[in-house]
Amino acid sequence: MASLQFNELAYTNLNEFIYGHAKKPVVCSNGMVIGGGTVYPEVNLTLPTMLINEETMPKVLSQYEEMIHGICSKAHELLSPGIIIEIELLPPCTFNPEWGVDVTKVVKGVMNEYYTKFGLKSLLRMTVVDIREGKTLTHMYKGEHWDNVIKTFRGCAEAGADFLAIESIGGKHLHDEAVMNCDLPRALFSLGVVGCRDMAALWDEIVKISAETNCIPSGDTACGFANTSMVMAHKNFIPKVFAAIDRVMCAVRTLVAVERGAIGPDKDCGYEGVYLKAITGTPISMEGRTAACAHSSSVGNIAACLADCWSNESVENVRLLGGMAPTVYIEQLIYDCRIMNVASARGSALEMRDILSESDRMYDPQAYVLDPGVVLRISQEIVKGKTHFERTKIAASATIKELRSAFQDGLVQLDAKELKYLDIFEKQLKTIPNDEAEFTQFMIKNSTLDKFDPAKYDFNFDAVAK
């Protein structure tokens, strides 16, 4: 399938690069426009402690029904101009596509009910879990795992999903190893070579299904990649600068979805979405302080600077004093969005954006690389690369350069250990040859089959060599 080329940025003016507005807004059939000026809440929810199997499926479905009722009822009460609901399917609901379809039907049914009765506008993002790993995987693009992923996408789309999304994992095992060892070249191989190729194959299929089912191919996130680094850095297991560099490198991989036809909104947990927005103009979902229910964060406010949807990442259906947790979180998201949207209406959106950025930027390199100005500068470098490999490498070097000068200018705090690792990563980058084929050959030789088996990826070495 044809691939779009993004060789210049969608934004040239920092003052246009802001939450709620995307250069290529996504216009939905119910009138909601993502990136058209309004930030919408996107609530994410999951099951409480319970098993999913044939027997428990009725209970599973009634859990989803209860959660969506609570959410829609609160959104109506608080006069939300519209909401997005994301369901990240759990593994059994992708291994058994019909279960994923049943979940979609139940969820969409309640959403439709609230639209009909109360006029509440809502959109459903179905995120299929990428089950292409584990002991029984035989191949990434054929066999049971692939077939179930594809069947689930099609089934969810036919059952009423508005957006299709995934957190794809091609090359993830290489990346896990890279994170544990802070091995930037290996991360680059995982993301810029293996991951980007996998994204192309996968997203061609998702875009095709979307076209056939009148659904919107929304986007991917590097959840299994940069978010692993983020969590590890948050626990002080690895340097924060690794996580920051890794985040920007992931942008090139996540961007492939759009190159193959995805149009957004990009998924919440992909903080690298800000780069996607800068380069392609695609609207994005982001998560920050109000996702503390799912994970602690060093980017609680700065993550909102460029958000077109604002999400809580994930919350279980447990009872809090104020009600069930998903209902509690849609309320918080709605109020968060009101602040941003009212600021826009008053002409203070830029000031609000800058407040959100200044809130966090200084304290963590992972926050610093989400600053809108920084995003535009680094993006400008990334698009100079001609291949995904080149772009990912540039992403890493440009981020290192940016962090170094930010530290010198007193714009970001980095302790001695972090600075030492900036040097280490710079040296690591220098060992990477300019020739992708040469690099690939080296990396494959130095990887075990359980981390990366080229055969399972139809990894055509000649194609790389070209």
């Binding site: 402690t49 584990g134 002991k135 802070c182 297991f237 340097p239």
Partner: protein, 210 residues
Amino acid sequence: MFDFTGLSNAVIEGDNDQVQAKVKEAISANVDPLAIINQGLIGGMNVVGQRFKVNDMFVPEVLMSARSMNAGIELVKPLLAGGEMTNRGTVIIGTVKGDLHDIGKSLVGMMLECSGFKVIDLGVDISPEEFIAAIKENDGKILALSALLTTTMLSMKSTIEECVEQGMRNDIKVIIGGAPISQEFSDQIGADGYAGDAAAAVELVAKLLQ
């Protein structure tokens, strides 16, 4: 007496070449092979574990230290009589059935190894039967179960139940961990303990094996 400081420091630095040089030096000096391992190599690794615990070392540094320690041990091993090498007990670790999360579990395994336990890491998506088989095969004393999904944490319960059915529940301590896990859940399913992070897991294992 041989001064192990240099060897231990080389382990702490994760300097493979230096470790091998120092071990060879010690061997040439006819130092007791077990002392080279326990005082020199594992001694260094214990410092690494402590420093990691207080956020003074990163995971990649710990892994480098572990690799250099193992390289040193490989040099000493031929000098040991069979069975002479001991460890603090064997831990069988894995992520439960239906769950593919790997890294958290690997980190716990890494920290346990640093602390002198023998670790058998079964990987992810492990059925109760596979856990049981591994316990039997390796004479496991601790079964460490990981889960990151609210919908797979109940596999921990099935695994414990399988231990009971196999009549081996009294021979093994079961510990659990992962994002959705709490002490309350641990009590509910009859585990022997819950650890919130890798360092806590090491302490828990040490306590349970006393």
